[in-house]
């Protein structure tokens, strides 16, 4: 702290030791506070959400205002469809882009791609919603599952690229050299040796990525919009779990609040279990995902 060394008087020693103890304790308190928030969130959702959760929630449509009961079957299916579209958009681009960065890249272009990827990752999700709105909803003049899925899919790209690059890079160089020494071309070596070796990591990366966008609400508000009924096909507005939680939570009806808790519980249970399973697998297979 000070350029001159502190004098080694008994008082000074006590002071330094007590500062040490106090600050160590304080940082510990910060940590416990941060970790405690999660425990608190889990506890509350479990108490409130699991209580009113029943089979109807998974099988019934939402009821009109005033009628109790009903469920969110359409929202669950809607979320699944949105995630399917998102996967079809985000995973191929992200995965192949990651292959490029890990296997063929190097130099200025790769640096640019990485940097832009990180920037894209930082774009607020609501802005992604505007983007999907302006390239799909606006020309088509109606909300749709496709538009919502596209918004989520674009949000998946940055993490898909960075995680697949990381996992491919973790495959030892010797495997590539070995297969090429046997006469395989580089493409062959990547396809038949490197990618299979990195498979577990690549799949968990995709799962984590899906879990992340599964809870996104903001980009769906004006792309997938919402729907109180089933949404056949891909061209109609659709309900989704996160948007349902939002609309039900800000509604003035107690019954809807209860449903919002149930939906929150289901969503959080899915997101966290995917996270826990993936992270356990990753901890065994390789370095943690950023």
């Amino acid at each position: 702290m000070s350029p001159s060394p502190p004098r080694n008087t008994p008082w000074n020693r006590i002071r330094r030791k007590s500062v040490n103890a106090i600050m160590l304790t304080l940082t510990g308190v910060c940590t416990i506070f941060a970790a405690g928030i999660l425990v608190f969130i889990l506890g509350y959702l479990f108490i409130h959400g699991a209580r009113s959760l029943n089979w109807n929630f998974f099988t019934k449509l939402p009821t009109p205002v005033g009628e109790t009961g009903g469920g969110m079957a359409n929202a669950i299916l809607g979320s699944a469809k949105l995630l399917l579209v998102a996967t079809m958009v985000g995973v191929p681009i992200g995965f192949l882009g990651g292959v490029y960065l890990a296997e063929f890249g190097g130099g200025g272009f790769s640096f640019l791609v990485r940097y832009v990827t990180d920037l894209l990752n930082g774009v607020p999700s609501i802005v992604m919603g505007i983007f999907a709105f302006s390239i799909i909803v606006l020309p088509q003049k109606h909300f749709s599952t496709l538009a919502g899925g596209l918004a989520l899919g674009i949000m998946m790209i940055p993490i898909a690229i960075r995680s697949s690059e990381e996992f491919l890079r973790n495959v030892p160089l010797a495997l590539r050299e070995g297969s090429m020494a046997l006469g395989a071309s580089k493409a062959r070596a990547i396809w038949s040796v490197v990618i299979p070796a990195a498979k577990a990591g690549l799949i968990t990366g995709i799962m984590l990525n899906l879990a992340r966008v599964a809870g996104e609400t903001a980009p769906l508000l004006f792309t997938a919009f919402g729907n109180r009924y089933w949404s056949p096909g891909w061209e109609q507005p659709t309900a989704s779990l996160p948007v349902m939680i939002y609309t039900y939570a800000i509604s003035p009806y107690d019954d809807w609040h209860q449903q919002a808790w149930s939906a929150g519980f289901v969503l959080l249970a899915m997101v966290l279990s995917v996270n826990i399973i993936s992270r356990v697998i990753l901890a065994k297979k390789g370095p943690a995902l950023r």
């Binding site: 030791k17 500062v19 040490n20 160590l24 940082t27 510990g28 910060c30 506070f33 941060a34 970790a35 928030i37 999660l38 969130i41 959702l45 681009i93 992200g94 995965f95 192949l96 882009g97 292959v99 490029y100 063929f104 890249g105 272009f109 791609v113 832009v116 920037l119 894209l120 930082g122 774009v123 607020p124 999700s125 609501i126 802005v127 505007i130 983007f131 302006s134 390239i135 606006l138 909300f143 071309s185 580089k186 062959r188 396809w191 879990a211 992340r212 599964a214 996104e216 609400t217 903001a218 508000l221 939680i245 939002y246 939570a249 800000i250 609040h257 929150g264 969503l267 959080l268 992270r279």
Partner: protein
């Protein structure tokens, strides 16, 4: 594609004709692989470029109608077609600042504890919990904000307000939804980002730095605070910038607790609004090109600010990681 390394040249002896054709096909496989993966990587740049273009072009009507005064005007009147962004910019800045004031000390403190002081097993267990906290969707944080945090704050805040009401920041009635509530919710949401990134950069500080300080007789805390943290300061700053960008763009949780009132209130206890929240609330119902254009222009503002903050953050984190690893 000059970046492609040509180290691997697997051309066989040219003696056998059939084999040569076979090898040619395989070489072609390489070219196809390079081309498709290159295109995918390029798509990222393309998507970002189109994103910028769309935001810029679709907000043209509003940019032409209001010019720079869009950023300084305080009226937001969709009926009269008068749009000014200042109340939202103000709300975003205030809530974000509040989140940073609460979040930075807590986050950096926890990161120091996890990286430097906690026993490894405890550290990895707690880091795991905190990473899970980052995975909690923001709409769920908002749900808890409405039904758990607001009732608690309604108990706590008024008595405290009675004592502090002479400070303008704490004056006025407290309804539960307020800039203050949104700031606290945001602080919770950015904590995991500050903690996990700061922890990583602190862990990447070379051990001889610590050993040197300890050998000179410094206590554990003095070593951490005077040697390790200054060494990792750029990375920690980077994590703070990342959290800042995230706080500014955070939508759902803020929308649910900020009160959604487009006024510039001088009290933190009054309801407010934020850029992201107004887009979330009004975009789907925005009738008329000008209204929509104004909302898209708000999106453009948000995008621009977060991109700048994020870009700076990445450079900071990168520069520390490079130094840490060398």
């Amino acid at each position: 594609m000059s970046a492609v390394p040509s180290a691997v040249d697997t051309r066989p002896p040219a003696s056998s004709g059939g084999a040569a054709a076979f090898w040619k096909r395989l070489r072609a496989g390489d070219e196809i692989a390079i081309a498709t993966t290159f295109l995918s990587a390029f798509t990222v740049i393309l998507v970002t470029a189109v994103l910028v273009f769309e935001l810029y072009q679709k907000s043209a009507i509003s940019r032409h109608a209001f010019g720079w005064s869009f950023l300084t005007s305080t009226t937001w009147d969709p009926v009269a077609g008068n749009f000014g962004a200042l109340p939202f910019i103000y709300g975003t800045l205030v809530t974000t600042a509040l989140a940073m004031i609460v979040g930075i000390p807590l986050g950096v403190g926890a990161a120091i504890f996890l990286a430097e002081l906690a026993p490894p097993l405890l550290s990895s267990a707690l880091s795991f919990l905190i990473e899970l906290l980052a995975a909690v969707p923001s709409v769920i944080i908002g749900l808890l904000g409405i039904f758990v945090m607001i009732p608690i704050l309604q108990q706590i805040v008024p008595p405290v307000q009675d004592k502090l009401s002479w400070i303008p920041l704490f004056s006025g009635p407290f309804y539960g939804v307020s800039l203050f509530t949104a700031g606290v919710v945001l602080a919770i949401m950015i904590l995991p980002f500050i903690i996990s990134i700061s922890r990583e950069v602190i862990l990447s500080v070379p051990n001889d730095q610590r050993e040197g300080a300890l050998a000179l007789g410094a206590t554990r805390w003095e070593t951490t605070w005077n040697v390790v943290v200054p060494y990792a300061r750029k990375g920690i700053a980077g994590s703070i910038f990342l959290a800042l960008a995230r706080a500014m763009g955070e939508t759902m949780a803020v929308t649910m607790v900020v009160g959604n009132d487009p006024k510039i209130a001088h009290s933190l206890m009054a309801p407010g609004y934020s850029i992201a929240a107004v887009i979330a609330n009004e975009f789907a119902e925005a009738t008329g090109d000008l209204y929509q254009g104004a909302l898209i222009e708000l999106g453009l503002v948000l995008f621009g600010v977060t991109i700048i903050v994020n870009g700076a953050a990445r450079l900071l984190v990168m520069s520390t990681e490079k130094r840490g690893s060398s």
